[in-house]
């Protein structure tokens, strides 16, 4: 008796697997039978996916660029011209004793001049001006690395009598961060809207497919097909659309990356940076494919579910 029950279960599971196999093949067949319609649907979905993805990639690169330009949270204190290097060194020692200071580097006019000379264009200007005049124009600078709230430290440093000007780059960084947060939110809103658009595109395509196979579905239902049996091929259809659109969107982004990578690297090199445009890593690309497939599956599921509810016998 138990063997019989197990046999029935195994048989049902086998039939269930069989139908999945059939649904996969049948849904792929439906896509391939109408290549142009399929391409159009996939193209529209791919653009809807590529736009927020592209913006996300750009924001990621801007954030990285911001990090490279200002990785530290240094506060630069430009001392008054009258402050001699020895006095600057003494002031640095005083600052190092503070609890909110992690480190202090003294950049003497001599060192600043050497850094400037490393840049060929500026080296020519220094030569034209004369090294002594250039050195005299440069103040000593203390590069202070904060150990806590750098804003409070910057305010405190501004009160130093030796300080001519305090440059707190964290302000710039905070502004960039605020822009990036805003950009991130824009990407989310855009992704939600365009994701909804992609969902509707799949839904509408599957709805049309359901309409064209209404009679077949009706026959299957009258023969006793469960909702799952009817729904399955359409779910696979939606998933294929999503996967193909995700793949195409990744392809579009890769093409954009190939077009922009070299000129941007060249531009960065002119500013002395080795910054390179970064696309999506394999894990992220896999996530995009999975998400797009699920989006298609969901769109198809919603439409098929709605159709199946409509075909149930009414109250009489």
């Amino acid at each position: 008796m138990n063997e019989k029950v197990a046999d029935v279960h195994a048989s049902r599971f086998g039939a269930w697997l069989d139908h999945h196999g059939y649904s996969i093949v049948a849904s792929l067949g439906r896509l391939l039978r109408k290549p142009w319609a399929t391409l159009l649907t996939i193209g529209v979905m791919a653009i809807a996916l590529a736009l927020p993805l592209g913006l996300w990639v750009v924001l990621g690169n801007v954030a990285r660029l911001g990090g490279e330009v200002q990785a530290s949270r240094d506060v630069a204190v430009f001392l008054k011209p009258a402050v001699a290097p020895a006095a600057a060194a003494a002031l640095a020692d005083t600052l190092r004793a503070r609890g909110d200071v992690a480190a202090v580097e003294v950049v003497t006019p001599e060192a600043a001049l050497a850094q400037l000379r490393a840049q060929p264009d500026i080296a020519a200007a220094i030569d034209a001006l004369g090294a002594d005049a250039a050195r005299a124009a440069l103040p000593s600078v203390l590069r202070v690395v904060p150990r806590g709230d750098e804003r409070l430290l910057a305010d405190a440093l501004r009160t130093l009598p030796e300080a001519d000007r305090v440059q707190h780059d964290a302000v710039w960084r905070e502004r960039l961060d605020a822009w990036l947060r805003f950009g991130g939110r824009v990407v989310l809103v855009l992704a939600a809207l365009l994701g909804l658009g992609a969902l509707l595109v799949v839904g509408n395509t599957v709805r049309l497919d359901i309409q064209s196979r209404r009679e077949e579905i009706g026959v299957l239902q009258l023969l006793g097909a469960s909702d799952g049996f009817v729904r399955r091929p359409f779910l696979y259809l939606g998933a294929w659309y999503g996967l193909a659109a995700g793949g195409l969107a990744l392809g579009v982004l890769t093409l954009a990356w190939m077009g922009l990578h070299a000129p941007l690297a060249e531009l960065a090199a002119r500013y002395g940076s080795d910054f390179a445009l970064r696309g999506l890593d394999p894990l992220q690309a896999g996530g995009v494919l999975l998400g797009a497939g699920l989006l298609g599956w969901l769109g198809a599921g919603l439409v098929t579910g709605h159709y199946l509810r409509q075909t149930r016998p009414g109250k009489g």
Binding site: D18, L223, R312
Partner: protein, 229 residues
């Protein structure tokens, strides 16, 4: 044992048209009967209520012990899997072969592929369709298509077979063959209910006849009384 019972069943469509009004009858296990009446008498509505394609406005339809009014969700599909249905227009899936069409009820029941193949071949041979196993329905004659529809309806040995004008498009010889096949099903425990307006055919079969007239059960004629009607 009663397989099907209509208990004072009425069906009214939106707009007020009464397709059935206070219809009551019962079908026993292994019984074959006909439902006849003019076009619009309510035959198709009656069949649709049995298939749970619609629900009655009043009264109860009981299939075995089950009140179909209470069947919801997955229960609807399960109920339909217990029926075999033959349609006048065959309702075959045109993009699937004869064998695939006939196999569908078994696929829906989750039977093993090997067992399905065996059963389909045996039945198609019995119905003279063995050589057409791989053909598409569009490659068959109307008579062959109807036989495929019948094969699909009986392959899972349902508790009840319902047929809506099953011989409507067929010549008399083929009609008689199909009726003979239907008449053999009660021996295997399957009840058969055939809706037909072909009174000649109904008389020849000498089975119980329900006569519908404007949605009402006008007569319930026993086989022995048929010759006198």
């Amino acid at each position: 044992m009663t397989v099907l019972r209509f208990d004072n069943v009425s069906k009214q469509y939106p707009g007020g048209h009464a397709a059935l009004a206070g219809v009551s009858f019962a079908v026993e296990a292994g019984e074959m009967l006909f439902v006849t009446g003019h076009s619009g008498a309510g035959k198709s509505t009656l069949l649709r209520l049995i298939q749970l394609a619609e629900r009655p406005s009043r009264g109860a339809v009981l299939f075995g012990e089950r009140n179909l009014a209470k069947v919801r969700g997955g229960g609807i599909a399960r109920h339909r899997r217990g029926l075999g249905v033959v349609y006048q227009d065959h309702q075959l899936l045109m993009d699937r072969s004869v064998a695939e069409n006939v196999a569908l009820p078994l696929v829906l029941r989750g039977m093993k592929r090997a067992e399905i193949g065996k059963r389909v071949r045996v039945l198609l041979e019995r119905l003279g369709l063995g050589a057409r196993e791989r053909a598409l329905p569009s490659q068959l004659s109307a008579g062959e298509q109807q036989r495929v529809g019948i094969a699909r309806a009986v392959i899972a040995e349902p508790a009840m077979l319902i047929a809506d004008e099953p011989t409507g498009n067929l010549d008399p010889t083929l009609s008689a063959e199909i009726m003979a096949l239907f008449a053999s099903l009660p021996e295997r425990g399957t009840s058969v209910l055939v809706a037909s307006h072909d009174l000649g055919l109904v008389r020849r079969m000498r089975k119980r006849v329900l006569v519908l007239d404007h949605g009402q059960l006008a007569d319930d004629i026993a086989p022995e009384d048929l010759a006198d009607e």
